[in-house]
């Protein structure tokens, strides 16, 4: 008997196929899975957060981070304007809006937990008339009315918590107040619906929507002026200004709201009030 080892063809015990192809396929599928999981978690967290009564939301609001540099005159003016708007916005009984002005140069405004709305002097200064200010206030109040801040935090927290537990390093600081403050991300759908509600309130107040879109023109102008191409911080996640303006125009024509009308000027002393707020802000940071 002759014994021999015949030559066996290559590639029988090894599957063909490029490893990079396999990597692309598997990593792609894993990323898709994670994205879907994050989305579902976000939805779940948001729904859960919405169930939190508003009074409890007020209790966890990061009040220490929200200073007001507004003098009594400015505060009285914006409070009165906000009151006139909220009367037309069907806020729940227990919901209270607290407006605060920060004297800093930041070009920004945002709504956060507990009905707190923070307006920065940088943005207020750039507004051309009261109608644009009303649009801004109504937009932020609409966020509060829609419970967007707590829903946004609920979404972020659910995603962070579960992914933290899955991949180690659960960043539980997200549940502290500093986390609440920085975790605010509103989705585009939230922005759109806040825009619509705001436009309705502005229409209810003035009987027309003239000047409302000037808010977005102002934001866009600032974007061009700052030149960095970087949008102002809080408008990061906002839909593109142009698309928002188009959506508002469409809404106005659908509801047959007049886009022509007389805009109400800001009080003559508005600029001085803001200067006072700026001074108050400097004082505060000096101490």
């Amino acid at each position: 008997m002759r014994y021999r080892n015949p030559k066996i063809p290559e590639g029988i015990n090894v599957s063909p196929g490029h490893p990079l192809r396999e990597l692309a396929l598997l990593a792609g599928a894993a990323i898709l899975l994670i994205v879907i999981l994050a989305f579902l978690l976000g939805q779940f967290g948001g729904r859960l957060a919405r169930l939190l009564p508003f009074e409890h939301e007020a209790a966890i609001a990061p009040v220490e981070l929200l200073n007001s540099d507004a003098g009594p005159a400015l505060q009285g003016y914006i409070d009165a304007l906000a009151d006139r708007l909220t009367q037309r916005m069907e806020l729940p009984e227990d919901m209270r809006i607290s407006l605060r002005v920060d004297g800093g140069e930041t070009f920004n405004a945002f709504a956060t937990l507990g009905g707190n709305v923070l307006l920065y002097r940088g943005l207020l200064e750039a507004l051309p008339h009261e109608n644009a200010l009303a649009m801004l206030l109504a937009h932020e109040i609409a966020h509060v009315a829609h419970r967007d801040p707590i829903v946004g935090i609920g979404r972020g927290a659910a995603v962070q918590l579960v992914f933290g537990l899955l991949f180690g390093d659960p960043n539980l600081a997200v549940l502290g107040s500093a986390g609440l403050y920085t975790q605010l991300h509103f989705s585009r759908a939230m922005e759109r619906s806040a825009d619509s509600a705001a436009l309705a309130a502005v229409h209810g107040l003035y009987g027309h929507v003239a000047g409302a879109r000037d808010l977005f023109n102002t934001i866009q102008a600032e974007r061009v002026r700052s030149g960095s191409g970087e949008p102002p911080a809080v408008f990061n996640s906002h839909p593109l200004d142009q698309k928002r303006i188009e959506a508002l125009d469409l809404l106005a024509s659908e509801r047959q709201w007049s886009r022509i009308g007389e805009v109400t000027p800001l009080p003559a002393t508005f600029g001085r009030w803001l200067d006072e707020a700026a001074a108050a802000s400097k004082d505060r940071s000096a101490h």
Binding site: Y3, N5, V14, A27
Partner: protein, 150 residues
Amino acid sequence: MYNLILFLVLLTLGYAVGQYAERRHYRSILEREEKYSGLPAIASKYPPQQPHYGQALVTGSTVVSVDYFKRFLAALRNLFGGRVTAYESLLDRARRESLLRMKQQAAALGADMVFNVKYETASISKGNGNTIGSIEVLAYGTALIAPPAR
């Protein structure tokens, strides 16, 4: 962020070095398989009775571990199931290398062939959680050494 960069560097490095080493290894395997083709390794338990061969245990052992790239690929595979192709070539190389080492030993003894060849594997990092898996592939058999011609 640094973790991500480190991860990508390790992945790229693992891929580049791993692929290079694998190609080189396969070249050497094919070369040596050709060289030892005259020294068959036979699985049969029953060696020829004539002539009266001298017998000796010969072994060849290889310990292999995975590169970072293959480990990552296999971990991803764990999510979805299916053939862990990343490890297939690695183990194929280990088996063939072990057999070649065994044949090398047999050749050094002046054997004509090796009978009753068997493989064994042992996981070295078994149960050690996060350590990189490495396994030993052992090939062994009975070398048949022809008696000196009279």
